[in-house]
């Protein structure tokens, strides 16, 4: 099958498939579960077919011209293939996990529809090479995110869902204005035609607002901890694997792959994102709600990915790309462990929990492993990504920024170990057995993957290297 067809299928199978889930739901619960897992599996498998193509470093364009310069164009290059593999794989795991998690909730049809639409539009966004269609998929994800956060339909949950939707919509609308400014300057929305053009400072600011709203960096980040009210699988999908990676991917695709930033931005950005990640780490240390801590932790780790990209050194870029993979696995693991704990104890405050390691050994070990990977301690994958990001920042001459980033890493270690000791160690407040085997299996798998991605880091690194060389058009 040629490359273009696979890319189109990766985008449209989940998007159109998700619309048929309510029909499957009409037939029976099992039919719907099987159908959604099948769709998830296909979406996860298809990008893998593109792997050999991506590893060769080549780039292919699938295009269907429409009017007004808005032609639907897909770009298949190492960066997009890497992102699609990471997102669809973790998304698939989360679908499997959620079979157990929301087995006895209402609105399950809508849940699976929205999750698959979410993953499908993520694929669309990752492959699209036209600014407007990138925005279209960006907003579809916003809608799915809004419906998923408000899944339990409680009064304040829906308020928080609206807040999240409004903040991301505001960011995205301003970003769209930025896109239109660029369109006004270059006359086209097509990325491949605009490689290397210098864009105006205001356009950069507007687009950054959109990215920061979606990837939760400093000024527009407070909706993510509030979105903790959603079911854990959604927060896992949202926070760890897919949603927060959108802004970062857009940064790579726009500000690295395509445009060049005015001078002032290049040294302002790293400082800004490091401060954002420090503040988020501080907030995570103070918080006591299990999922809010992990949400702030995500905001903090996203700061690292932005840091890696914004220093414009090859190490930084490959560090950040690796970070996306490692953080996706590890943070999804952390959230799903949190899901198992909350699902069993029905408590959200870590001070009320304790000694769960006796009754939940596998979850505890998995949580610890994923925590070590997020902190960036050696045998785990997170270590390599954090190392490359830090060395990339130092090579860009920003030694103080690297120092602050490392201080944030120490803070990360502190609050993650604090959470682990408070929840799993100490004297047991109640005996809560580990819930469904499927959920525990997924969590264990994620922990093992975090470890393997550390030991066998050479393999993902190959793809990351080709992606970095394909991104860099300027002489470093």
């Amino acid at each position: 099958m040629n490359i273009k067809l696979i890319a189109l299928l990766t985008v449209f199978i989940p998007v159109l498939g998700s619309l048929t889930i309510p029909l499957a739901g009409r037939i029976s619960r099992q039919a719907r579960s099987v159908w959604s897992v099948l769709l998830g599996a296909v979406t996860a498998a298809l990008p893998l077919l593109l792997l050999p193509f991506a590893l060769s470093g080549k780039q292919d364009i699938a295009v269907r011209t429409l009017i007004l310069g808005l032609d639907f164009k897909l770009i298949i290059d190492p960066l997009s293939v890497f992102m699609s593999i990471v997102s669809s794989f973790v998304g698939f795991l989360i679908i499997v996990y959620s079979l157990g998690y929301i087995a006895h909730e209402r609105h399950q049809d809508e849940y699976y529809l929205m999750v698959l639409l979410f993953i499908g539009s993520m694929m669309g966004l990752v492959f699209s090479a036209n600014l407007v269609f990138m925005y279209v998929f960006w907003e579809i994800i916003g809608i799915c995110c809004w419906r998923l956060i408000g899944f339990y339909r409680e009064k304040d949950h829906v308020l928080k869902a609206d807040k999240a939707f409004l903040m991301t919509f505001f960011g995205a609308a301003v970003m769209l204005l930025g896109f239109i400014l660029i369109y006004n300057q270059t006359g086209t929305f097509d990325l491949t035609a605009m490689r290397g053009t210098l864009i105006s400072g205001t356009a950069v600011l507007f687009i950054l607002l959109g990215m920061f709203s979606k990837s939760t960096t400093m000024p527009l980040h407070t909706w993510l901890p509030d979105a903790g009210v959603a079911p854990t699988t959604v927060t896992a999908l949202l926070h760890a694997a897919v949603l927060v990676k959108i802004g970062v991917y857009a940064f790579a695709r726009l500000f690295l792959f395509t445009f060049s930033l005015p001078a002032g931005w290049r040294d302002a950005l790293p400082i800004f994102v490091v401060v954002s990640s420090l503040v988020a780490a501080g907030a995570a240390t103070v918080e006591n709600d299990f999922k809010r801590i992990l949400a702030y932790s995500t905001i903090s780790q996203i700061g690292y990915i932005f840091l890696g990209f914004s220093v414009y050194t090859p190490d930084g870029i490959s560090g950040s790309l690796l970070f996306i993979l490692m953080h996706g696995l590890a943070k999804a693991g952390l959230f799903l462990c949190a899901g198992i704990v909350i699902h069993a104890t029905h408590k959200r405050d870590i001070r009320e929990m304790g000694g769960l390691i006796k009754t939940m050994p596998v979850t505890a070990v998995a949580f610890l492993a994923c925590a070590f990977s997020v902190i960036g301690l050696p045998p785990f994958g997170g270590f390599f990504s954090k190392l490359l990001v830090i060395t990339g920042t130092v090579k860009a001459g920003q030694v103080w920024v690297a120092a602050v980033a490392l201080f944030t890493a120490v803070l990360t270690m502190f609050y993650l170990l604090k959470v682990f000791s408070k929840v799993f160690l100490g004297e047991a407040t109640e005996t809560a057995p580990e819930k469904t085997r499927g959920m525990v299996f997924v969590v264990a798998l994620l922990a093992v993957l975090s470890l393997l991605s550390g030991l066998l880091v050479a393999y993902p690194m190959k793809l990351v290297e080709t992606a970095t060389t394909s991104i860099i058009w300027w002489n470093p």
Binding site: I67, L166, A173, I180
Partner: protein, 494 residues
Amino acid sequence: MIFLFIALPLVVAGILPLIGKISPRLLPDILANAVFAALLAIALFAGPSLIGQGAGLQPFMFLGEPLGIHLALDGFSLFMLAAISLVGLCIGLFSVDYMEHYGHKAAYYALLLIMFAGMNGLVLVTDFFQIYLFLEVAAIASYALVAYGLGHEELEASFKYLMLSAVSSAFIVISVTLLFGLTGSLDFGAVSQALRGLNQPLASGVCAALFIMGFGLKAALIPFHAWLPDAHPSAPAPISAALSGLLIKVSGIYALTRIFLKVFGLTPALSNILMILGAVSMVVAAFLALGQKDIKRMLAYSSISQVGYIVLGIGLGTPLGILGGLFHLLNHALAKSLLFLNSGSIQMAAGTRNLEEMNGLSKKMPVTAATTLVGSLSIAGVPPLNGFWSKLIIVVALVQAKRFGFALAAILASVLTLWYYLIIQRRAFFNKPDEKWRDVREAPFLMTTATVVLALLCIVIGIFFTATISTWIEPARDALAGGLQVIQSSIGIQ
């Protein structure tokens, strides 16, 4: 053939009360919807060929006497006719069930058809006085329809609507007479030629101001909008859908566009005025909508805000701006009538219009919940749906014309729009099912089909927006833009 658009509804309206005597409900339903369907068919299928042969002037023999009927059908009017009859058909279908308990359906259908005849007429004529006349036809029918519920609140609202519309019609007549005084004729082409001839800047300026005020009130732009938030909520749902979806667009925006682009010529001064009016309505109405408790009042304010978008687009004057404005006109017509029809089915099922009392309906009324979601997201301009593309084109046009302030206002207004539509979703549907709606059933069949048709249209146009633009909107824009270059050079008002 195009004369049918006016004659058919008028004739059927005439005979309806008699038929009403024979079978009070069944026959009028069928007849009215048949008329709408026929008009839609003509517009969709026969229309494009009709445009082909020029301005569609054809002598019409009546008892041997050649009647000087000048009906001009160009891309713009055909686009409007198609939109009117499309929304009209859905409203007709909706009214079959909804108007059951209002009684005397024949009179209702008669008035409805007359209103649509008035609108069709207004779209087709090329004579100032005839525009005023058909304006009055549609207006009088709508006064009666707004007050159709005969409740105290309905009467007061329709009285206010009548008095203010009467004032605006008066100003339109003054302006028409002034123009007749100045140019000696009432036909668009003749008047525009004459205006270019004599340089009377003050006179044509005053005429323009009076027209803006008159048609501005019909289109409910901000300083003149006050009647709309009272008229729409108290009108029965199909009527407020017709009013908000069509009447303010046809009698307001169509007339403004036709007059200013074809006759007066959109000079920079006029375009600035229109854009400022549009932008002010867009933002102020959005804030007003935020604070509403009653769903229909909120939707009414939202209409004012979206009309602001359309006027902003068309007022810009560049071909892309007009394209965006017209496309938004179509999208808003579909989505807003969908939302008003849904509010009608909510009111019929749950018996309330107040958002606070309305929570927990999604369990019992899933289809209405889904279609309302589609409608709200479409107007808020969230991508996959049609509203987004028109707003996008408008903002692109604004940015290309270096009007960054307006572009930013448009973006912020769309965020505000999303905000109050989320309030509707949160209050009405997106919450835990409430016990008090235990015995509430989904809206009857025909009503749901009407709303589902409109919702599907929103989605389909959203996805195949390029096809819609190239077949419907671009001919309309060319019809208008064609006239633009000619006028641009005329002296008129600088």
